[in-house]
Amino acid sequence: MKSSVVQMRAASTIVTDRLSRVFSERLVKYYFVVPAIFYLLLIGIVPLVFSFGLSFLHWDVAAHRPLRFAGLANYAELIRDERFWRTFFNTILFVIGAVTLEVIFGFALALLLNRDIKGQGLFRVLLLLPMMATPVAVGYTWRMLYHITNGPINHLLGVLGLPKGTWLSSGKTALMSVIITDVWQWTPFVFIVLLAGLQSLPREPFEAAVVDGASRLQTFFYLTLPMVSPILIIVILLRMVEAIKVFDIIFVMTGGGPGISTESATMYAKLVSLTQFRLGYGAAIAYMLLILSMMVFMVLTRVLPTEAETT
C-alpha cells in the first residue's frame, strides 16, 4: 500500500514537473508581457472606446436633458463651430512654432558643444532644470517675467533702449509669448538628445573629410546631417506629439486668453466636457485632436528610415 502511494506520488510529481516545464517554457514569456498589456487594455483602450461612443451621444449633464443618440450631430456641430477651429488652429500654430524653434536652437547648441569643452557637465545639468521643472511653476514664473509694467523682461528691454512688448496682455502677442516659454522649457531636451546622437557618430568619415579638405558647410550637409537625421526625426516626432497635448503652461499663463487667442484644443475640449458638461461634444473635440496627433505620428514614421523605428 504505502509503497504504491509513494510511487504514485513520485510518478505524479514527474508528470507535473514535465508538464509545468513544457508549459512554462512556452508560456513564461506571456507572464512577463500580459500584465502590462492587460492594464493598458483595461485602463487605456476601454476608456478610449467609451470616449468614441460618447462622441455619438447627446449627453448634456448640466442641462438635465436625457441621454440621446446623436449620430454624427456632434461632428456636424464641430464643422460649424468657429471656436473649435480657432483652438485647433492655435494648437497647430503652437506645435509648429515651438517645435521649429526648439529644433533649431537645440541642434545649433548641440553642434556648438560637440567638442571638448570644460564645464560641459555643469552646463548640461543646468540645462536639465527647465526641462524637468513643473509646468505650472514654469507658467507662473513666465507670467511674472512677462508682466507689462513691472516685469523684468520689459524693464530690461527698456534698459537696452528697445520697445516694450505687450506679451500676454494682447491677443496678437500672447500665443507667441506662450511659444517662447515652451521653447525655453524644451530646447534642452532637443539639445541633450542630439548632442548624444552627434557624439555617437563614428569618427572616421569626419577625419576623412578633413583630409579631403571639405569645408565645414560641406561636412555638415553631406556628413553630419544625413547621419544624425534618424535621431533628428525621432526628436521632432516626440516633441510634436507632446506639443499637441499642450495644456498646463497655457492654462496657468493666460487661461486661454485674451479672448480665445491662446486656447488650445485640449483646453476647449476640457471646457466643453468638464465645465459645461456637454460630454458628447467634448469627446468629439478630443477625438479630432487624437486624429490630428495620429496623422502627425503616421506622416513622421513614414519619413523614418526603417532601421531607426521608434518601436
Binding site: V28, K29, Y31, F32, P35, A36, I37, Y39, L40, I43, G44, P47, L48, F50, S51, L113, I117, R124, V125, L128, L129, P130, M132, T134, P135, V136, A137, V138, Y140, T141, W142, M144, L145, T149, N150, H155, W184, P188, I192, V193, A196, I231, I234, V235, L238, V241, I244, K245, D248, F251, T266, K270, L279, G282, A283, L290, S293, M294, T310, T311
Partner: protein
C-alpha cells in the same frame, strides 16, 4: 593680415564659451527670478524698476513663507491654510510613488519579455508599438471617459484613482526605456543561472534586475517627475481630498489679485524637490533620455 591658425582656434573657442555662458544665463534666470521673489516682502516684489539682487537692492525676508503658513510666527498671521498645502504635497508624493511603483513593476516585466523572447502571433514590434501608442494619445481623450467612469466607480478625488490614471502615461515610458536597458545586458548570465536551476522569473529577479538598477533609477526619476508635474488628469479627477500640489497652485490666481511672493514660495516647493532629484540623478536621466530616443 593673416591670423595664425592657433589664434583663430582660440578666438573660436572663446566665442563658444561666450555663447555657452549667455545661454546658461538665459536658461537659469527665470528660475532665479522665482527664487528671489519667494524671499521678497510685498513692497519689494512688485516695484518698478524690479529688484534683482538680494542684499543689495532689497533685504531678503521670510515674509512669504510665514504668509503661506509654513513658518510659524506669532507676529504675522498667514493668508493661506498650511494644512491644505501640506495635504496637497502629501497627495502628490503618494501618487507619484504609487504610480512609479505600479509602472516599474508592470513595465519592467513587459520590457524584459519584449527584449528576451520572441512572440510569433503578434510580433514583438507590434506589441511594443501598441504599448508605446498609449503614450502618444492626447490625454484629454482619456480624461473625459475617466471622469465619467470614475464617477460611477467612486474613484473621483481619490489617490488610487490618480495612481491608475498616471500609470497609463508612465507604463509605456517604462517599457520603452527599460527594453533598451535589458537589451544591453548580456543574455549569457541569465542562461548560466537557468542551467544552475533558476526559473526564468528567478533569473530575471536575481540577475537581470540588479544589473539594470541604473535603468530603473533613470526611469523612476522620469515617472516620479512626470506624476509630480502632471496637471490635466489631476485638475479634472481631484478637487479636494486627493488634490495634488500643481492643482492647488494652478487655482491660486483665479480668485483675486496675485500675491506673487506667496505664489513664488509655493512654486519653489514644487520645483526644489524636482531640481534636487535632477541634480542627484543627472547621469541616469541623460542616459534615459538618450536611450529613449536613440535605441
Amino acid at each position: 593680415m593673416m591670423i595664425s591658425k592657433q589664434a583663430r582656434q582660440r578666438l573660436e573657442l572663446g566665442l563658444v564659451y561666450l555663447i555657452l555662458i549667455l545661454v546658461t544665463v538665459v536658461m537659469i534666470s527665470p528660475i532665479y527670478w522665482t527664487f528671489v521673489t519667494a524671499f521678497k516682502e510685498p513692497r519689494d516684489a512688485f516695484t518698478f524698476p524690479p529688484k534683482y539682487l538680494p542684499f543689495i537692492q532689497f533685504k531678503p525676508s521670510l515674509f512669504a513663507w510665514k504668509d503661506v503658513g509654513l513658518i510659524k510666527d506669532p507676529t504675522q498671521r498667514g493668508t493661506h491654510d498650511p494644512t491644505a498645502i501640506l495635504n496637497a504635497l502629501q497627495n502628490s508624493v503618494i501618487i507619484a510613488l504609487g504610480s512609479t511603483l505600479v509602472s516599474i513593476v508592470l513595465g519592467s516585466l513587459a520590457a524584459y519579455g519584449l527584449a528576451r523572447f520572441e512572440f510569433r502571433r503578434w510580433k514583438n514590434r507590434d506589441i511594443a508599438f501598441f504599448i508605446l501608442s498609449q503614450r502618444m494619445l492626447p490625454p484629454i481623450v482619456l480624461v473625459i471617459p475617466y471622469f465619467v467612469l470614475y464617477n460611477w466607480l467612486g474613484l473621483l478625488d481619490t489617490r488610487p484613482g490618480m495612481i491608475i490614471a498616471h500609470t497609463v502615461a508612465n507604463l509605456p515610458f517604462v517599457v520603452w526605456i527599460m527594453r533598451g536597458f535589458f537589451r544591453g545586458i548580456p543574455q549569457e548570465l541569465e542562461e548560466s543561472a537557468r542551467v544552475d536551476g533558476c526559473s526564468y522569473f528567478q533569473a530575471f529577479c536575481k540577475i537581470t534586475l540588479p544589473l539594470s538598477l541604473p535603468g530603473l533609477a533613470a526611469t523612476s526619476a522620469f515617472t516620479i517627475v512626470f506624476s509630480w508635474n502632471e496637471l490635466l488628469f489631476a485638475t479634472t479627477l481631484t478637487f479636494n481630498r486627493a488634490k495634488t500640489f500643481p492643482t492647488l497652485i494652478a487655482g491660486l490666481t483665479h480668485s483675486g489679485a496675485a500675491l506673487w511672493w506667496d505664489i513664488s514660495a509655493m512654486l519653489l516647493l514644487a520645483l526644489v524637490p524636482v531640481f534636487v532629484f535632477t541634480i542627484l540623478l543627472q547621469r541616469y536621466i541623460v542616459t534615459g533620455l538618450t536611450l529613449g530616443a536613440l535605441k
